[in-house]
């Protein structure tokens, strides 16, 4: 589909990641893919342009810092935001907040 917002979700917990992806992809104007861990996230960003990288729980501070630095080098305009609250009510606000859009 054209003009969908591409979102990369970085997690450490496979089941939580699946839930987050299911909820994000329920929104037809968003397309989310997920990875487990930093190296895979960086590789994905080298191969594809995302509007948003959503950092899930379980990443250490050094991992988050490394991700932010390396991804910003690849795509300076990308939004990198922490995700709070698991697979429930905050996802939409986090994405809209990062994009500066309203639903």
């Amino acid at each position: 589909m054209e003009n969908r917002t591409e979102i990369l979700v970085v997690g450490t917990h496979e089941d939580i990641l699946k839930t987050v992806l299911r909820l994000l992809n329920a929104e037809t104007s968003w397309h989310a893919v997920g990875v487990l861990g930093c190296e895979e996230a960086i590789a994905k960003c080298k191969a594809h342009t995302y509007a948003i990288v959503l950092l899930g729980g379980g990443l250490t501070e050094p991992e988050e810092a490394k991700l932010k630095t390396e991804i910003k080098l690849i795509h300076p305009a990308i939004h990198i935001i922490p995700h709070y609250g698991g697979g429930s009510g905050l996802l939409y606000a986090e994405i809209h907040g990062a994009l500066g859009t309203t639903n």
């Binding site: 450490t12 917990h13 089941d15 939580i16 839930t19 899930g56 729980g57 379980g58 990443l59 250490t60 501070e61 922490p82 995700h83 709070y84 609250g85 698991g86 697979g87 429930s88 009510g89 905050l90 939409y92 606000a93 809209h96 907040g97 309203t102 639903n103």
Partner: protein, 238 residues
Amino acid sequence: MAQIVLHTAASRGGADHGWLKSYHTFSFASYYNPERVNFGALRVLNDDAVDGGRGFGEHPHDNMEIISIPLSGSLEHKDSMGNIGTIEPGEIQVMSAGTGIYHTEYNKNKDQTVKFLQIWVFPNKRNVEPRYDQVKIDTPEKPNTLVQILSPNPDDAGVWIHQDAWFNLGKLEKGSHVDYSLQKKGNGAYIFVLAGDIEINGQALSTRDGFGIWDTDNFTIQAASDAEFLIMDVPMEF
């Protein structure tokens, strides 16, 4: 000079799923208002009513301090750490989601609606070890006083969370007042009226109104009728 924000009950976002009726003071689920995302570290204030026997199936959380306060009925909790508990009015439950947790929340009774507040506070540390606790709320020693139900300190009254936040429940008789001093420099207070009419700094508030105040050290809550309210004292920067 004190800064204030008023969120009237009628201005809240609403969701009616049949079995669940929820009012969102701040953006949540399909309610998104960029002007209403949080009050400092206070991110979610949901006023929920769940039909008998119904509830939230298994779902995950991470990196959030989640507090439930039942107002009527019984709420049952089960989580991936093996905790099973039921909370009722007069109790408070806390869950630090940290690195990740799954849980379910159900109305324990088949024939009675459970009403409760669900409150989410941003933690001051990411990726803490998940934990769960529930405690009975102390009965106030004197009328027209506040009861602390949450703090950052494990040894203090109420439950504790990973944030420099303090919650107090207040119950005032008509014509009485209570003074409140913010617990920490840089904190603000968000007052949610559970029942009745109160006044803060000249602002009249009624049932389910919310009122935030910051850049001040203290304020006075005056009861225009018998009233109950919750004060959430949270960092404005976190």
